[in-house]
């Protein structure tokens, strides 16, 4: 969900990547220029996952890998896909466009037939043409920048609702709360700015008064200057579109500075750590826009227990989405009875209400969810986010 490269560098990287991918594909067809180990194996179906396992976003990589691994294990225990086991192959994209391109090529050369990764939008974007060249269908669990949709590729499907859908939920909630002066703060990353812009646009057309549109630098500790601006703007409703670490700090520090209004956060902030970082007595009046939390779903306790037992750590953001991505992809391959991209794409588009954590999944022609399914969650007694308002009616 981060982008750090300028457009021209990005374009060059993409061009380079495409040619490398092509070269790899040609080598593959030729029957192995030293690549016999990497031939598509007959015994397993390889799912590839790009996620950040190093760098500042590395926590999310493990959450995603574990979620996906759990799904793979379940499906294999259940007989796999028509008797073939799924094998999960992960590569580190470091949340960086250049690293991601190399990692995507590596996955392709390892013979993956489906991609179930993608966390940072900025790192996922340049990998799209590589997977298209290699004819690999993609179900992206986390990355949800509108840029991914605008790339207009037939093999791209987003499990996570897009920024536009999420912003709509935030605006609906602001109106419901009767907020009169709205502030929005982003953390200057691609995903966050995207969401903030979308929110401002929709809030204005809904007739809401946006009094502050600020940006802050992530990875720091002191946001009292921003908190101060928020108080001064006189806002009674703020939408924070960044991640939980800065979100918790901002929430605490703005309350310390005297902010008394509603604090609404985006889905990147939905994590139990948000409440821990905010601290006791700072969790009142905090809400977030989120797809759906595991604890609202039947059988989720077991899922969380399984996950915790297996990985020694509780599931985090995008564990469930990655779990879903694998299941959706497996379902589509099963339905298509083929791993050819064309067939799998069609099967993905044909899915109708596939039961997933994030609600029933039906894809639009564009590959986004037919229903964003965003709800409003709030911090419960144990510090985790629980359903507050599903915004239905």
């Amino acid at each position: 969900m981060k982008s750090t490269r300028s457009a021209s560098v990005w374009r060059r990287a993409r061009y380079l990547a495409a040619s490398v991918a092509l070269a790899t594909a040609v080598a593959g067809c030729g029957g192995g220029v030293g690549g016999s180990d990497d031939e598509k194996s007959g015994d397993t179906i390889k799912f590839g996952m790009l996620a950040p396992f190093s760098g500042t976003e590395s926590a999310f990589g493990d959450y995603m890998k574990n979620g996906a691994a759990l799904a793979v294990e379940e499906i294999n225990a259940d007989g796999g896909i028509d008797g073939k086991d799924i094998e999960l192959v992960t590569q580190d994209d470091g949340c960086d466009a250049t690293t991601a391109v190399a990692a995507a090529n590596k996955l392709v050369s390892q013979g993956v037939v489906a991609s179930v990764g993608g966390y940072c939008s900025g790192a996922t974007l340049p990998t799209l043409p590589i997977f298209l060249q290699a004819e690999v269908p993609m179900v992206i669990p986390a990355a949800n920048s509108n840029a991914l949709v605008e790339a207009d590729q037939e093999n791209v499907f987003l499990i996570n609702g897009t920024g536009t859908q999420q912003a709509a939920a935030a605006v609906a909630f602001a109106k419901k709360e009767g907020a009169s002066k709205i502030a929005v703060i982003d953390d200057s990353t691609d995903y966050s700015v995207d969401l903030a812009d979308s929110f401002v646009e929709q809030a204005k057309s809904a007739g809401l008064d946006v009094v502050l549109d600020a940006t802050m630098t992530p990875k720091e500790k002191d946001y009292s200057a921003e908190a101060n601006k928020l108080v001064k703007s006189g806002a009674d409703f703020v939408y924070w579109t960044g991640y939980y670490q800065e979100g918790g700090l901002l929430n605490r520090q703005s309350k310390d500075a005297g902010y008394k209004g509603t604090f609404l956060a985006g889905d990147g902030s939905v994590d139990a750590s948000f409440a821990e970082i905010s601290g006791k007595d700072y969790t009142d009046n905090v809400y977030a826009t989120f797809t759906q939390t595991p604890d609202m779903l039947e059988g989720a306790e077991d899922w969380i227990a399984d996950y915790t037992k297996k990985f020694g750590d509780e599931p985090g953001p995008y564990s469930t989405q990655s779990y879903d991505a694998v299941r959706v992809m497996a379902e589509a391959i099963k339905n298509a009875d083929s791993t050819e991209m064309k067939d799998v794409n069609a099967a993905l588009r044909d899915l109708d209400g596939f039961p997933a954590f994030s609600g029933p999944i039906t894809f639009t022609e564009e590959g986004t969810l037919a229903e964003g399914g965003f709800a409003i969650v709030t911090i419960g007694d144990d510090g985790s986010f629980v359903l507050h308002d599903d915004l239905q009616g």
Partner: protein, 297 residues
Amino acid sequence: MSQIIINGLFVGSFYALIALGYSMVYGIIKLLNFAHGDVYMIGAFVGFVLLTSFGGLAAAATIPTLVLLVLVAMIFTGLLGVTVERVAYRPLRSSPRLAVLITAVGMSFTLEYAVRQIFGPSPKAYPVRVSGGSVEFIGARISTAQLVLMALAALLMVVLAFYVNRTREGRAMRAIALDPAASTLMGINVNRVISRVFFIGSALAGAAGVMAGAYYGSIDFLMGFVIGIKAFTAAVIGGIGNLYGAMLGGLTLGLLESFGTAWLGGEWRDVFSFACLIIFLSFKPTGILGARVVERM
């Protein structure tokens, strides 16, 4: 306006505490200790480990607990600093400056990713928070926690200034900064003094780490990176090698950032503060107090 100044001074006092270590080490052996920011991070983690392993500590009253934590963390990070110097810097003391710079960068990564392996990459929440009410002070809102932490930082700096300027060991440090060879001839044990400088500098960074953890409430293995660079900047603005310069530089940087955010917005803060620094340094490359060579140490 006064709120902006208070915010700036508060952040600045953290920068100052860490900048002191940078400045002292540079003053005495002309080394940029890039692992210094990570010592700050380790300090925060030492406090975290203590709090989580002794549940009683977290339940106790916060201010004495905090002081105790700060002391333990200071001893630990001080010893860590001495070890780092012994392992990564002393063997290379007569090597080209660049080689030591690289071992410093290497040390920084070693510490960061060792902590990542032990504690995991996700941020940890601090079990103890210094909190309390806030007071109005010439139109600004300042919490008692901020006051306590600023007082603690000031106290540490005063003790340090006294130590360096008024004691025998302090005089030895200043002597080595002026001329290591002559100091050796005068019978000063240079290695021991350098170890002591590392101990003190690292202990201050460790103290800042615990204080930041207890105030902001979230710590992670990369928390030392940005603040390390900022503290280094602060040390240079103040005049690297100069004790008071480091304190002044830290406060200056904190104020610049605070005003940058207020006037131009958070996304322009670093642009504003660093542009000011470039302009300032091109007129006065030695920093605010850098010219006062006599006071170097």
